[in-house]
C-alpha cells in the first residue's frame, strides 16, 4: 500500500484543507454528482506533475484553484500533498516516507516540494519515473475514459503496447 494520504487545500472544490487517510489496498470514494470525487483524481494527477490543463478538465491552470461561491471568496492558491510509503524503497530517495507537494498561486507562480524541501517539477518527474506512474496514462483512468483503450486505431493501440514494452 504505497499511498498513505492526500491533502488538498484550495484545489478545485476543496476550499478547506482536507486530508484523506488511505487505509487500504482498495479504497472506494463515493458521493453524489458534483460533490468532488473526480476532483480528487485530478488532484493526484496534478501533484504528480500533470501539465495538460485539458487532462485536468480546465481551460487554464488557474482553473484548479478554488474559485469561490456566493458565500465564500476564491482561494489565492491551490495546494496538494501526496504522501507515499517508501519502506519498500520503491523511490530513489533515503526517506521511508515521501511527501510530494505542489502549489500554484493565482499569479501563475508554482512551487514544488519533496518532504518540504523546495525542488523543481523535473525532480518530481524523476522521482516518479520507473514506478509506472505519473505520466504513463494507464495508472489513472479518468471518468468516461476506459473505452479509449479500445477505440484507438490499430496504430495508436500499438503505441500503447510499445510504451508498456
Amino acid at each position: 500500500m504505497i499511498l498513505k494520504n492526500i491533502t488538498l487545500q484550495g484545489f478545485k472544490s476543496f476550499a478547506d484543507k482536507i486530508t484523506i487517510e488511505l487505509d487500504g489496498s482498495v479504497c472506494a470514494i463515493v458521493g453524489p454528482n458534483g460533490s468532488g470525487k473526480s476532483n480528487i483524481s485530478d488532484a493526484i494527477r496534478w501533484v504528480l506533475g500533470e501539465q495538460s490543463v485539458k487532462s485536468l478538465r480546465g481551460s487554464k491552470m488557474e482553473d484548479v484553484i478554488f474559485s469561490g461561491t456566493s458565500t465564500r471568496k476564491p482561494s489565492g492558491f491551490a495546494e496538494v500533498t501526496l504522501t507515499l510509503d517508501n519502506s519498500r524503497e520503491l523511490l530513489p530517495v533515503d526517506f521511508s516516507e515521501v511527501a510530494i507537494t505542489r502549489r500554484v498561486y493565482r499569479s501563475g507562480e508554482s512551487e514544488y516540494f519533496i518532504n518540504k524541501a523546495p525542488c523543481r517539477l523535473k525532480d518530481i518527474y524523476e522521482l516518479m519515473m520507473d514506478t509506472g506512474l505519473g505520466r504513463d496514462g494507464y495508472s489513472i483512468i479518468g471518468q468516461g475514459k476506459i473505452d479509449q483503450i479500445l477505440y484507438a486505431n490499430p496504430e495508436d493501440r500499438r503505441s500503447i503496447f510499445e510504451e508498456a514494452s
Binding site: M1, I2, L3, S13, F14, A15, D16, I18, L22, D23, G24, S25, V26, C27, A28, I29, V30, G31, P32, S35, G36, K37, S38, I40, S41, I44, R45, T69, S70, T71, R72, L90, T131, G132, L133, D136, Y138, S139, I140, I141, G142, Q143, G144, K145, I146, D147, Q148, I149, L150, N153, P154, E155, R157, R158, I160, F161, E162, E163, A164, S165
Partner: protein, 154 residues
C-alpha cells in the same frame, strides 16, 4: 528491439486472455497483429468472444461488453508494467450487477497494487477496505465524511 516488442506483446496477450476470463467468467480474448510479417510496423486488432458467443469485432459488442474488454486490457497492461497504485474513476459504470461483482473481486484479489476507485456501484463498494464519502453540505465546497461500509451500501 523487434524481439523485445514481441516478448512484451506475447506477455500482454497472455495476460489479456487471463484477465478477460476472470472478469467474464468464461469467454476469451485475443490480440492479433494486423500484419504478422512486420512486427514493428503492424497495427494491432483486438478479438473478443463473450461467454457462449461467437468471436466478434469489437464494434458489434454491447456497451457493457466493450467496457469489460477495455478493463481486461487495462489490467493486462498493468500486469506487464506494474504500478504501485491506480486511480479508477467510475470505470465499471456500464457493467451489469454480475459483471460488477466479478470486477470487484478481481480488484480485491489483485496483489501489489493499491486501488483508489471512484464508484457509485454497490458491488464495488462492498469489497472495498475503506470507504470515503465526499459531499457538499455547504454548496460548492467539498468535504469528506468517514463512512462505515454498512451505511453506505444501503
Amino acid at each position: 528491439m523487434c524481439t523485445q516488442f514481441s516478448e512484451q506483446f506475447i506477455k500482454i496477450t497472455e495476460s489479456f486472455r487471463d484477465t478477460y476470463v476472470s472478469l467474464t467468467g468464461g469467454g476469451s480474448a485475443n490480440i492479433l497483429l494486423t500484419d504478422p510479417t512486420d512486427v514493428l510496423e503492424s497495427g494491432i486488432e483486438i478479438e473478443i468472444q463473450p461467454p457462449g458467443k461467437k468471436l466478434q469485432n469489437i464494434m458489434l459488442l454491447s456497451g457493457g461488453e466493450k467496457a469489460i474488454a477495455a478493463i481486461a486490457l487495462f489490467f493486462a497492461l498493468l500486469a506487464v508494467r506494474p504500478a504501485p497504485f491506480c486511480v479508477l474513476d467510475e470505470i465499471e459504470a456500464a457493467l451489469d450487477e454480475g459483471n460488477v461483482a466479478r470486477f470487484a473481486s478481481f480488484l480485491r484479489n489483485y496483489n501489489d497494487t493499491q486501488f483508489l476507485v471512484i464508484t457509485h456501484r454497490r458491488g464495488t463498494m462492498e469489497t472495498a477496505d475503506a470507504l470515503y464519502g465526499v459531499t457538499m453540505q455547504e454548496k460548492g465546497v467539498s468535504k469528506l465524511l468517514s463512512l462505515n461500509l454498512k451505511e453506505a451500501s444501503q
